[in-house]
């Protein structure tokens, strides 16, 4: 006769303790101390001095490479980093690849297409298998909020049958609507560079607006966490369907009237409307079978949205003299901002991309170095 005993949680063996550096992962900016953010940003600034884009006028140096570049390649020499992108990306994936190669790491690119993900493998299994091959770090993007955290738990030996732990870093390159911490860091870096705060990375006194689809934006959540932590005042602006009042619990302000506040802003960070992330279950019932994507998602129409929230030349003219415009990309020109504004002197869009590389270098060095 056998007796069935309730399984106590204590009966499950605890995962083995890992002797690892304290900051092996970067999953989110929320909760990170300001000093920790500054540590990463200062390192990014050092890298920017070496790899930052040179004005075309300087031409190529006789040796062919900027000073210090060879030495940089020793920093993560011998490390293997896998890019696990389960969701479309151009900028972020290439940026992580360039950053890893600058530091001398080997990079493996994995996308859902052409991998076992298309055979139905779960994200956790994919990550465990990659880690079991001795890879040192995974950069992960996934459509589900919490995916990176889930992978971290699995790699540390939780929540899977084997309970085996791997010394593998996890860097979140965007999980659902939750966070995109390296974007948050590069946005902070861009603001610091534009307002001459690269020595202190102190953003106090600056007012940052995040305009548009804030509710569905992982960029916004990382921006709010990072920017408020470093002292900025952050105002989220958009219609209530995209900028719900409860966002104010994240430490920012909420406003539905852009024209009222535009003259007070130092930074206008414009987001794309992420039609793909909105609940279209109601819109899907449209009798005329029109594509729900462009008409639902909480805004009545692109026309109405643009009328009240698009950054137009008229609105740009009302901004402070030194105010800057940022956009995490991809831009829907003519919707959240007009082409002439996107290409104007205020636009920091390409600088954000350049700073993205050095910020990601710093993050990888901190996690894997």
């Amino acid at each position: 006769m056998t007796t069935h005993r309730p399984v106590s949680p204590v009966a499950i063996p605890a995962p083995p303790a890992l002797a690892e550096p304290p900051h092996r992962h970067l999953l989110q900016l929320r909760g990170l101390p300001a000093e920790r953010l500054r540590e990463i940003l200062r390192l990014a600034r050092r890298y920017d001095g070496i790899v930052g884009p040179r004005p075309a006028a300087e031409g190529f140096s006789p040796s062919g490479l900027p000073a210090g570049l060879r030495e940089l390649e020793q920093e993560l020499h011998g490390r293997v980093i896998a890019n696990l992108f389960f969701e479309d990306s151009t900028r972020t994936r290439v940026s992580f690849s360039v950053a890893a190669r600058r530091l001398g790491a080997d990079v493996i690119d994995l996308t859902s297409v052409g991998s076992s993900v298309s055979k139905g493998e779960t994200v956790v299994d994919t990550a465990l298998n990659i880690a079991a091959m001795g890879v040192h770090g995974v950069v992960i993007r996934h459509r589900s909020s919490g995916a990176a955290e889930m992978v971290r738990r699995a790699l540390e030996g939780h929540d899977h049958a084997g309970g085996q732990a791997f010394a593998c870093s996890v860097i979140n390159a965007g999980d659902g609507r939750h966070e995109h911490p390296t974007q948050g860091l590069l946005d902070v870096y861009t603001i610091a560079a534009a307002f001459n705060r690269l020595d202190s990375f102190d953003l106090s006194g600056l007012t940052v607006a995040i305009i548009g689809d804030v509710g569905s934006s992982r960029v916004a959540r990382s921006d709010i966490a990072g920017m408020t932590s470093l002292g900025a005042r952050v105002i989220c602006i958009g219609p209530p369907a995209l900028v719900p009042a409860k966002l104010s619990t994240l430490g920012c302000e909420v406003c539905h009237d852009l024209d009222e506040v535009i003259g007070d802003l130092d930074v206008v960070n414009v987001l794309r409307i992420q039609f793909e992330r909105h609940d279209v279950s109601v819109g899907a019932q449209r009798a005329d079978n029109a594509p729900a994507a462009k008409s639902s998602g909480g805004v009545a129409s692109i026309r109405e949205y643009s009328e009240f929230y698009s950054i137009t030349p008229r609105r740009a003219a009302r901004m402070k003299k030194n105010a800057i415009i940022m956009h995490p990309g991809p831009i829907n020109r003519g919707v959240e901002l007009t082409s002439d504004v996107a290409d104007s002197h205020r636009s920091m869009v390409l600088r954000q991309v350049s700073y993205g590389v050095v910020v990601r270098m710093a993050v990888m060095k901190m996690c894997l170095g």
């Binding site: 209530p240 409860k246 019932q285 449209r286 009545a300």
Partner: protein, 434 residues
Amino acid sequence: MSASALLIRGGRVIDPASGLDRLADVAIDDGVVREIGPGLTALPASRVIDAQGCLVTPGLIDPHVHLREPGNERAETIATGTAAAVAGGFTTVCCMPNTQPALDNDTMVHFVLSRAEKTGLCRVFPVCAVSKARHGVELAEMQLMARAGAVGFSDDGDCVASAGLMRRALAAIKATGKAMMQHCQEASMTGGAVMHAGVVSTRLDLGGWPREAEELIIERDVRLNRGIGCAYHVQHMSSAGSVEIVRRARAEGQPVTAEVTPHHLLLTDQEIERSGFDTHFKMNPPLREAGDIAALKKGVADGTITVLGTDHAPHAPETKQVPFDTASFGIVGLETAVALYALALVEDGVIDWPRLIAMMTIEPSRLCRLEAMGLGMLRAGGPADVTIIDPSERWTIRPANLAGQSRNTPFIGREVKGRVVGTIVAGKLVMSRR
């Protein structure tokens, strides 16, 4: 609208917004109230209106009318509907968006406002659709419509059925600063319904529209709105249970208001049987029972119901002179409103004249955000929208003395007391029975 000077002499001037209630004269010039006080001297060339024995009140406001233009000009137009309005003492009407096409974009707002400017006898403000084409699927461009002049939002005629859409609508309307006006009808319970679900509908074997179909929507919306705080207005409230829900919500401090029509205060479902299936007793929501009338009156008396609205619903005869189950819903109400409300509420001792006037002036003005324009109140320097009512004049409601295009009312032949004798819009005497 060029206006000559007017002097309204000797009436009982009532302005609920300021608490004014005294015998006085009202001097009007150039569209504006110049002075209110006893013994005023008429300006040269002033027309003098003798208002002795009359109430002189702010121009009445009806927050709930159907003007049918565009799309059903056979039943009513902005011209004929506003003629009915001024005949009934209304200087401002808010028209519902269930036209064809629906008032669901800013171009339609401009259409209504410009038609009213050209053909209207009183002020007209559109209440616009919550959802595109009033289909209840996608939000309409409410921010653009609010900017163009919409004074509130409703899919009236239809309820916003989807709770998800309703929540988004409440948040979006809150941001416009206007009110959400809900036609409260849980449609899954009212398929084929043509009258109140009760003893009479059972006897007549007509489809029943239960009270719960109204109450559930109010209960749901009040709950959805708790974290949002949008101004929420229950249109044409009909059931005792609804009064209770609104009373509770208001006691909690929620921004909830409700309106009641004359017919829901005066008629019950028994009229349908007594009249032999007269389709003029077919309304949406339906006429209910004596207990509901008592509860609605109590709601008016204790301030649960603050707004009076007629739901003026003109229909061409061919849509009413058909069997009961296929007839259109609704009756005209603008021209008979003052007399019928007086009968239901003042004669019955539920409220006094000043409160009745408040519920037809400053209260709907607040609901439709018209206070900033000075509407719904009577004060020196404000717009000269004035209604003169003889509270003791007896008259009989006859088709011949209705000014609107449609005559669908069950009150034909009824002798009533209290009649509007003069209506002044922006300083111009647009209707006079003296």
